[in-house]
Symmetry: C2
Subunit: 307 residues, 2 copies
Amino acid sequence: MSLMIVGSMAFDALETPFGKVDRIIGGSATYAAWAASNFTQPIKQVSIVGGDFPQEEMDALTARGVDMEGVEVVKDGKSFFWSGRYHMDMNTRDTLVTELNVLGQFNPQLPDSFQDCEFLMLGNLAPAVQISVINQLKNRPKLIIMDTMNFWMEIALDELKQAIGMVDLLMVNDSEARQLSGEYSLVKAAAKIQAMGPKFLIIKKGEHGALLFHGKKVFFAPALPLEEVFDPTGAGDTFAGGFIGHVARTKDISYENMKTGIILGSAMASFCVEKFGPNRLKELTREEIEARIDEFVELVNFDINIK
Amino acid sequence: MSLMIVGSMAFDALETPFGKVDRIIGGSATYAAWAASNFTQPIKQVSIVGGDFPQEEMDALTARGVDMEGVEVVKDGKSFFWSGRYHMDMNTRDTLVTELNVLGQFNPQLPDSFQDCEFLMLGNLAPAVQISVINQLKNRPKLIIMDTMNFWMEIALDELKQAIGMVDLLMVNDSEARQLSGEYSLVKAAAKIQAMGPKFLIIKKGEHGALLFHGKKVFFAPALPLEEVFDPTGAGDTFAGGFIGHVARTKDISYENMKTGIILGSAMASFCVEKFGPNRLKELTREEIEARIDEFVELVNFDINIK
């Protein structure tokens, strides 16, 4: 049994109102694995990197219980590179550079030892790649979650809808949910997206929290109000990693347990944004995580007494 | 003992993506009184209207337990008029017309029978008017809450700061909190604003909910995700009315009880936006309110089990 994470491992260059970094480790699968490994191990990682990706980063993940057999290393290739600049509100950003590099030829072949995957997280990738991974699995996982982005809605909508129809839970941000559904109201958008297949939908709203929809039910988890949001890059993937890490550990795919997963994902995301890149995630202690979860409980916990 | 509400009673003309109305009842004190009267009566209303304000609207409030002795009627004057147009996201709006009319000469003289006020809500008004009301009270109320807006930060900042220094709880939206404090982070903004005097601060974020700050403590209440937000006018005043109505009924000004007040305020606001003007607030039943509160409990309630 295990959790499989499929996504990018990459370099990022970032500008925020608080600083600038030229070339740091990034990628959806990197952030997700660091977050999830706090809750469940082993994790089977599926990705592709160039010869420029640091061996010590691979080793650090291995040491965290992440099985790297599914990470293809193209020795003479370059890793995916993304560069962006954040606005003051940190919820909006401009892409400055996207160099697909080896990610453009990503055609994952799952190792046999990855066939026991019970929980599958498909990070934001070409829908064709997401579909190919699902089709390679001889046994359907208990839960398949996927992320995507507006880019695929624009250039590969049919394949994207096919992929969405194959998964149990879709995770998008609010503007993506609106674009995908054609509905401004997130309640209406959620109904339309669930009609495309996924029984669960998470709509991420950045600093405004996240919503979990399941049939007519809806659960809301806030983001923790922070003194400083230093770098929001990877926060969504970290959220997803914390969520699926908890679900995989408990093997409980109920709506109630997903609520806990969303709180844990939000807690992990609140750490992620405190430093550039995944650095904050690498150094977390169990005590820090538990204290942060307590802050979430304090943030939303109330007793109603109106009699 | 009673709750006193000071604010505008007015006409609004509104355009939203869903419709348009030319001249409907509005005003901060109108919305607040309708919301608060679900929880506590009598309410002492302090406002000013022109001869054009419909007597049946005054009578409807009286029938709801709102004492109108403090509402000055200027027979040959016109009521305050505001006209605005909402953008698609309903969180932003353009002011098209502001006609102060009789509100420009508002200089409330509290009736003697209003001196027993235990809870005071100062709606958005010129800070000089807010200060004058506080100064007319021989006994300090248990709790004074005030609303304001960016307009007063621009033209009467010194008086505004004086008013803020005299109240227990300030209620502003996120952009106003940022403008008032000069801090982008709402956590930092909250600390600076509390240093100006108020021991409690509520930051309203429209469809993204509301935050209550008290010292180092913070509580978050979401807005209910709705299929349709028809007209957000008055939602903030309705929120305030529900909040202070609950606090006045329970006579409990603890942080814990304020959390309940914020949930009730959010519930009332979620009704307010369902129709143009305060109409939805006028027809609410106890059962509808309790069912809506249950929806809030479902929305945020979770049990953490990570052991």
